[in-house]
């Protein structure tokens, strides 16, 4: 795997050490008034951006922390966040 990721605690490390945690979708919605459809969308639907997206990664073989980072899905490389998000 050519991917490397920058863990906020351990620094730039081999992609093998991490587990993918999906796109960044924001916190769990409150249960009150939640429709089944909205819940299902939160759990299962993804944007599948072709380009740079924010996502969660877990440093499984390292410090054991979850963090977000930006990745270019078309090149499978960590990337700078787009201007709008800086």
């Amino acid at each position: 795997m050519a991917l490397t990721l920058t863990c906020p605690i351990c620094g730039k490390r081999n992609g093998y050490e991490f587990r993918f945690g999906g796109e960044d979708k924001g916190p769990r919605p409150p249960e009150e008034g939640l429709t089944p459809g909205a819940w299902c969308d939160y759990v299962h639907m993804n944007n599948c951006t072709a380009g740079v997206q924010k996502e969660w990664w877990f440093h499984r073989d390292g410090c054991g922390s979850w963090f977000t980072t930006w990745r270019d899905t078309t090149r499978n490389l960590e990337a700078e966040p787009p201007e709008a998000n800086k």
Binding site: A2, T4, P27, P30, E32, W39, F58, G64
Partner: protein, 971 residues
């Protein structure tokens, strides 16, 4: 054959003999020989037969770019004999022959080429369809490379290394060595990869000189010596680069030497920057019978003589298109080769010094001439030369035809790194339009051929790469760039695409027996770009990938289609050169964990199974039903090593919030001195884990998970709290603590002997939690659980004390009939009690309610946003889900196998666990069935694997099957 024993360029040691067996005879080679050169030294000229036409094939490039010398070596097929160093005692066989390579009964196939036009296997033999399987069988028999037996066991040790470098240099020729040295001088960590067994590249075997008069072979050895003395260059010889990925990840494999600890070693390098100094191979010359044994490339002929001391023939004709070809002719003449003629495709532009040298040696030179045909049925006997316009022809007798259209860069690393390739009109090379990030070319790959320029370009690339990797060398870079600009630049390349022939027997790809004619056929049928021709006519699909046709195919397609577009080479893919799967596999990883008392379990006769990441004792007797182990727990007392249980501490101000998030129950009710049983679900409400939680103090909890979930639990809890910024700490104690499950009616009597607290049922009741010291020393957490349905103590002690506690209990229990029980006995014991094991009584889609654990779920704690709660609320109203029920066979002597299907006219569920209970004598178990079938007394039809249509039957019965009131475990 007599060797030229005294050359300074030799890479063999003529004093050390190695023998090999070929066709039942023993041949002698010497140390440093490859399998191919050793055979060549013994007069072998035909190494095998070609894929389709069974044409004889011999030495051609000496670097393994084609399958010509693929042979079976020591039982391994498709070994490239010219890349494999000879070892004493090797056994070698030829491939794809009926008879022998010399006399192949299928040689007549060569005359049947008209039956096999491009893509014939896609178009012929489809009708009638019935003959296709038979025809395919025959074709497979006649065509192909080596044969591997189905039960082949790969010998050898395969290692792997994962390295980090600041600069990686691919190619250990003069440019590569200069680059490595330049980068290393700045203190960078450098890795240098060389595919041949020795450094030197194209300098290694040449006697021409640098500007200061040093012969190139000597210069190569000087540089190699420097490289080896430089401590921050890590050198890998006999190491082929096979992959380049983005982020400059380079993969390669190294072939081990006799004293290495490995046969082959997979190498993966993360490099800040990369120098590509892979140099050039030769562009094959296209003419009739251009692959007849006796036809070889310039480098092959030159290296045979200079590196291995073997004159490649007696009388030679050269048909070349570049100066190294003329240089080789001069040098080989001086070594004793008779040269009848040198034809140079170029009308002008030759190096005058070389022309003069040829004249001095009275070698006739024909400018603007090219070979059009090699004659001779098995070996070259004669060559036809012709002017490039095809007008004038002459024939020369010869047994060696050295043929090459020019040079072609080894651009594989660039293509693998996804560079867009362009065509350079001056050199005729395919080179990247834009270089990949932090990748620098050096040496002949850039088109230069002047020895000083080669070294300087290497130095430049090394400095650039070091700078890209953080060194501040930009002034030096600029100086070196200027120095290089003052040296001879790229040379004009020979543009001839094909000799003036029709091409029926002009092979553009040797591996797949693809001729110029078949390429024309493919184009005529509309497959008119190289990538399509490649697939339809099979050009470059063989083991050598683009080695032989890579350059010629796009040129020929452009010429034949009269395309005005820039020709585009086909894509090569990793592995760039053939590699063993064994090399990629590396070690046989049998990785597992052992419990702290593994060895004593083993000494007690434990039979181990890999369960998840652990090795666990499954049985302690040969009786797989474990009758004695089970009954001993029911009647006396047993001990189980349950150290594999997941064990965690969670503490901090927000620890309870985190527990509320992942456990379905209201964890606020977890109390001191009492254990709370609960379960975790995923966001679909499917149950993934169960365990117990104890509150040990304010904001401090201890909990267990199932064996299989221990590895993921920390990740799971942190994932589901990742947005909350809660303040808690999670400690995985799984490996730090061992667990002994002491179970049976005598358990209390045994434990009383080793501890001095009150263990009476009133003082330490069922579901209780106590902490105490065994022998005043060993801190113990004791949980009164009832998983197996008897009076039980689960003792959690530090791993380092596990053996001591185990031994104490064994000693204390002697009077009460204590003995081991294993995982299988536990499985039956708990099944009789109707206690579930997740993963056994559940699968991916099983939710908390299906397995009857709905009572654990606290619907009121919506604020906690418990994982799975939303889905459970919806699933609560679902009909048609599976439900866990107890079942009993109609025939108690015939329990159904675990996993058997419950059917009527379709699948309605399955048996989760079933055993014949020794306690009751009944065949009972648990099954997941559709809820309509869950009513007590329902008759279930069971389909077992290999039942031959005979169904067996069970009925739904109430659970548990043993001690329904739980009096025994609560006693």
């Amino acid at each position: 054959m007599n060797r030229l024993n005294q050359l300074p360029t030799l890479r063999i040691d003529p004093a050390v003999n190695h023998s090999l067996t070929y066709r039942g005879r023993t041949y002698q080679g010497v140390a440093g020989d490859t399998v191919a050169t050793a055979l060549f030294a013994n007069g072998v000229r035909i190494f095998g037969r070609s894929l389709k036409y069974h044409r004889p094939r011999g030495l051609y490039s000496l670097d393994g770019e084609c399958s010509n010398t693929c042979m079976e070596v020591d039982g391994i097929p498709n070994v490239r004999a010219e890349n494999t160093l000879l070892e004493n005692g090797m056994t070698v066989k030829e491939q794809n022959v009926k008879g022998s390579a010399e006399r192949d009964w299928l040689g007549f196939m060569d005359k049947l080429d008209w039956m096999m036009p491009a893509g014939f296997y896609y178009k012929i033999m489809h009708k009638p369809a019935a003959i296709w399987p038979m025809a395919m069988k025959q074709i497979r028999k006649a065509a192909g490379l080596g044969i591997i037996s189905a039960d082949h066991k790969m010998k050898g040790r395969y290692d792997e290394q994962f390295l980090k470098a600041e600069v990686t240099v691919i190619g250990g020729g003069a440019a590569g060595m200069a680059a490595a040295l330049a980068a290393a001088q700045s203190g960078r960590r450098v890795i240098l990869l060389e595919s041949r067994p020795h450094l030197g590249g194209c300098f290694d075997y040449r006697v021409s000189t640098t500007s200061d008069g040093t012969p190139l072979h000597e210069r190569a050895r000087q540089l190699a010596e420097k490289v080896k003395q430089t401590t921050n260059i890590r050198l890998f010889e006999h190491t082929s680069m096979v992959g380049a990925y983005n982020n400059n990840l380079i993969t390669a494999f190294q072939v081990g030497k006799a004293d290495d600890g490995f046969t082959e070693c997979y190498i993966e390098i993360r490099s800040d920057s990369v120098v590509v100094a892979t140099g050039c191979i030769e562009r094959p010359l296209l003419f009739d019978n251009n692959e007849r044994p006796g036809v070889m490339q310039v480098g092959c002929a030159h290296r045979l003589a200079r590196t291995y001391g073997l004159l490649p023939g007696n009388a030679a004709v050269f048909s070349v298109g570049h100066n190294p070809g003329l240089e080789a002719a001069v040098d080989l003449f001086d070594l004793g080769l008779k040269i009848n003629c040198v034809a140079d495709i170029r009308e002008d532009g030759q190096d005058p010094a070389l022309l003069l040298a040829l004249t001095e040696r009275k070698i006739p030179v024909l400018k603007g001439w090219v070979a059009t045909k090699a004659h001779g049925s098995k070996m070259v006997q004669k060559a036809t030369l012709c002017t490039i316009d095809g007008m004038v022809k002459r024939q020369f007798s010869c047994d060696l035809l050295v043929a090459s259209a020019g040079l072609t860069p080894v651009s594989g690393p660039f293509i693998l790194a996804q560079a867009i390739m362009g065509y350079d009109d001056h050199t005729g090379y395919f080179l990247p339009d834009q270089l990949p990030e932090k990748m620098f070319p050096a040496g002949r790959i850039t088109g230069i051929n002047d020895p000083d320029a080669i070294e300087t370009s290497g130095r430049l690339a090394g400095l650039e790469a070091a700078s890209a990797a953080g060194a501040d060398l930009w002034t030096k870079v600029a100086e070196t760039r200027n120095a290089l600009a003052a040296m001879p630049g790229p040379e004009r390349g020979c543009k001839l695409v094909i000799a003036p022939v029709k091409g029926r027997k002009s092979f553009i790809c040797f591996d797949e027996d693809a001729t110029v004619k078949s390429v024309k056929q493919a184009i005529d049928q509309g497959f008119d770009v190289p990538e399509l021709v490649k697939r339809f006519a099979g050009v470059g699909l063989g083991p050598g990938q683009g080695g032989i046709p890579g350059h010629n195919l796009p040129l020929f397609v452009a010429k034949y289609t009269a395309s005005k577009e820039t020709p585009k080479p086909t894509t090569v893919r990793p592995p760039l050169v053939p590699a063993f799967i064994a090399t990629y596999a590396g070690y046989n990883h049998h990785m597992f964990k052992r419990t702290p008392i593994h060895h004593s379990q083993k000494a007690d006769g434990g039979i181990f199974r890999n369960i998840g990441v652990w090795q666990r004792a499954r049985y302690f007797t040969a009786d797989v039903d474990c009758k004695e182990e089970i009954l001993n727990v029911r009647n006396n007392v047993g001990m189980l090593d349950a150290s594999t249980l997941g064990k965690f501490r969670i503490h901090g101000p927000d620890a309870l919030k985190a527990l509320q998030r992942v456990y379905v129950s209201d964890m606020g009710k977890a109390g001191k001195d009492r254990i709370k049983y609960s379960a975790m679900c995923n966001d679909d409400g499917c149950v993934i884990d169960d365990g117990v939680v104890v509150k040990r103090g304010e904001n401090d909890y201890y909990f267990t998970t199932s064996t299989g979930r221990a590895g993921q639990t920390a990740e799971w809890i942190r994932y589901h709290t990742r947005y909350d910024n809660w303040d808690f700490h999670l400690v995985n104690l799984t490996d730090a603590m061992g667990v002994i499950n002491l179970s049976g009616p005598n358990a209390r009597k045994v434990l009383t002997k080793v501890v001095d607290i009150d263990l009476s049922n009133e003082a330490f009741p069922f579901s209780g939690y106590r902490e105490f010291y065994i022998q005043d020393t060993i801190f113990t957490r004791a949980l009164r659980l009832g998983f197996v349905g008897e009076l039980s103590y689960e003792l959690h002690v530090p791993s380092s004390y596990m053996q001591a506690v185990w031994d104490l209990l064994t000693e204390a229990g002697k009077a009460f009939g204590i003995r081991n029980f294993g995982v299988e006995a536990q499985n039956v014991l708990r099944m009789e009690k109707g206690h579930i094991i997740l993963g056994q009584e559940s699968e991916q889609r099983t939710n908390l309610l299906d397995v009857g654990l709905g009572f654990l779920w606290d619907r009121s704690k919506t604020v906690a946003r418990t994982v799975g709660a939303v889905a459970l609320r919806q699933a609560a109203n679902d009909t048609g889900r599976l439900t866990l029920v107890g079942i009993r066979m109609e025939d108690d002597a015939r329990p159904a196998r675990d996993g058997s299907l419950i059917v009527d006219n379709k699948v309605r569920g399955y048996v989760a666990t079933m055993r014949r209970s020794f306690t009751s004598g009944e065949a009972v178990g648990m099954a997941l069935v559709e809820s309509q079938l869950a009513g007590a007394g329902t008759r279930l039809e069971i389909f077992e694997d290999e039942c031959n249509g005979v169904r067996i039957y069970a009925r739904v019965v109430p659970m548990p099957f043993y001690d329904p009131e739980g009096e025994r475990m609560k006693s």
